[in-house]
């Protein structure tokens, strides 16, 4: 019970949940009846509990279990919705890996975007959160300014940034010109499209920043006081107290960043479509086009399954190796 009360920062979702759940289950009263038989009271509780969660059970079956299992089935078929799915074995996967020239492009673009956007936004949001944590006056004001971009609808920010990054009249190029720098073809030069999109994604770092800020404020003050008595410098305090104490939050933001970046879609779709020379063809775009423009549902299901397997594997690897660098406070 106690550990579940301490859920204050989001790192708890992934990690402290386990302890929370474990704690909760050990707190369950042991049934006086040996295994199979249940007391009438337990049975009644079971039925009431199931009744309360029944909306979720229905949703889980209809919108999670059924879709995933049918996605697995469809991925082995040729299916255009109108005619019945036709089983073709591993054909979809063979085409993906050997014939579809746009598949490697979409993987490369997504990988490029993710490896740039995830670390950069982690770094920026952490640094700004640390600045805000210096007990500056007007913290709420700055927090608002940095957070607001992350609640702007994707469609609106896509339109806005198309205008700002416009080669001829855009604000950014005009500013560059007035500083004596050469303007850049942000959205028309294939080499620049992805960096431009990363730039836009950095504008919305506010969400992770607020999460980091909450984690920073959760660090017990006495740790810093003890370090100060020992004569630790600001840098030492950051490296040896702050960073280790927020590793669970870094881990959380990293996993969320990966899940988000692998499914990156709306902004690029609205601003660029596939982009010049397919430079903005991201994985999700490739999947969307195959499913909803060409109605190749079987093929798109195979693509979605590969994405699922990839994200799952990566998360598991991160999870397994997290013990080496993520520090969890014991107890509360």
């Amino acid at each position: 019970m106690e550990s579940s009360l301490s859920f204050r920062t989001p790192n708890s979702i992934l990690i402290r949940t386990e302890t929370g759940v474990r704690m909760a289950s050990t707190a369950l009263p042991l049934s006086p009846y040996p295994s199979r038989r249940m007391s009438p009271r337990t049975l009644r509780n079971l039925l009431t509990g199931l009744a309360f969660i029944s909306p979720w059970i229905l949703g889980f079956l209809a919108f999670t279990i059924y879709p995933i299992s049918s996605a697995i089935y469809y991925s082995f078929t040729n299916y255009d919705i109108v005619t019945a799915p036709r089983f073709i074995g591993l054909e979809n996967f063979r085409v993906i890996f050997t014939e579809d020239a746009r598949f490697p492009t979409s993987v490369y673009n997504t990988f490029y975007y993710a490896t740039l956007a995830i670390p950069l936004s982690l770094l920026v949001s952490l640094l700004v959160a640390m600045l805000l944590n210096l007990k500056v006056r007007g913290m709420a004001f700055f927090r608002t300014v940095f957070y607001l971009p992350s609640i702007v609808p994707d469609i609106a920010s896509a339109l806005l940034w198309s205008w700002i990054l416009n080669t001829q009249f855009g604000l950014l190029n005009q500013t560059l010109k007035s500083l004596g720098l050469t303007p850049v073809s942000w959205l028309t030069n294939p080499a620049m499209t992805k960096p431009s999109l990363v730039l836009i994604s950095l504008w919305t770092f506010g969400g992770s920043m607020v999460i980091f800020l909450a984690a920073l404020q959760d660090i017990p003050q006495h740790l810093y006081e003890a370090a100060e008595i020992d004569g630790a410098s600001a840098l030492q305090k950051t490296l040896n107290i702050t960073i280790p104490m927020i590793t669970p939050t870094i881990f959380f933001n990293l996993v969320m960043g990966i899940i988000g970046a692998t499914q990156y879609f709306t902004t690029a779709f609205v601003m660029l479509g596939a982009g010049p020379l397919d430079s903005a063809r991201f994985y999700m775009f490739h999947l969307y086009v195959n499913a909803f423009r060409y109605f190749k549902m079987g093929y798109a299901s195979a693509l979605s399954l590969l994405l699922f397997i990839f994200v799952l594997t990566l998360t598991l690897i991160l999870w397994r190796t997290s013990g080496r660098w993520v520090y969890y406070e014991r107890g509360s």
Partner: protein, 306 residues
Amino acid sequence: MNAGVKKMTGETLPMTLQAINIQAKRAQRKRKTLRLLQRLLTYAVLILLSLIFATPFLWLLSTSLKPPEQIFKLPPEWIPDPFTWSNYTKAVTAIPFFLYLKNTMYIAIFNVIASVISCSLVAYGFSMIRWPGRDVIFMVVVATLMIPYAVILIPTFIIFSKLGWVNTPNPLTIPALTGNAFFIFLLRQFYMSIPEDLSDAARIDGASELQIYWHIILRLSRPALAVVALFTFMWNWNDFLGPLVYLSKKETLTLAIGLYGFQSRAGTQWGPLMAAATIMVSPIVALFFVTQKTFIQGITLTGIKG
């Protein structure tokens, strides 16, 4: 010996004290200026950064209020001259704005009501009642958070199209009746912090679980329910991919998709486009300012980023 000590302390102590005092004062002054410098630097960085981050908003607003000729003026001007509303009237009349608004509001409000009810019921079942297997199933709820939307999207589209629900709001509303894992998680955590004595006392008085849920738990969890309502509204207002996949008939479109269509038709009419974007952004920003506390609470409680 005694006298020697006396003599020594008598002569040296005031001097050392003074020296220490001066040194301490100097160090203090140094520390003070250092702290002041650090503070100034922090503010400078923060102000510069917030200017950079506010610039796109200001530019959006400025463009939306400019007459067409001024929009393409080089170098760019910040203050609209004269202030023009025509971009807004153009944006609202170029698309069936109020129809799209109505469609969007229907979906968003349906989702808010449905999510608040379904998530709180489910969370109650996962926290206030003890039943065998509860915590194992709850782990499944948490695990579903990891499933990419892309995997679910195609098969659910196939189900809904077989039901004849494409081009109706149903695919975007009905699933909310079954709850959302994020909010179930959030509410369960909240309910776990409510003292059990309360519900136990009610049970002894003969209250049913539904009565406890309705009269005690719902009332006590208003702040958490506000978080659920707020984020559900925002997500549905902002949602793009869902409506893009399910809605294509003009009568059914939401604002986000309507705006997307407007963009592909309007091309370089940046004034009306920025006006439309401003209209899309302003309710969310207004909502944020009214409910700031709830917002920040929601993010820090669950890691929802908005």
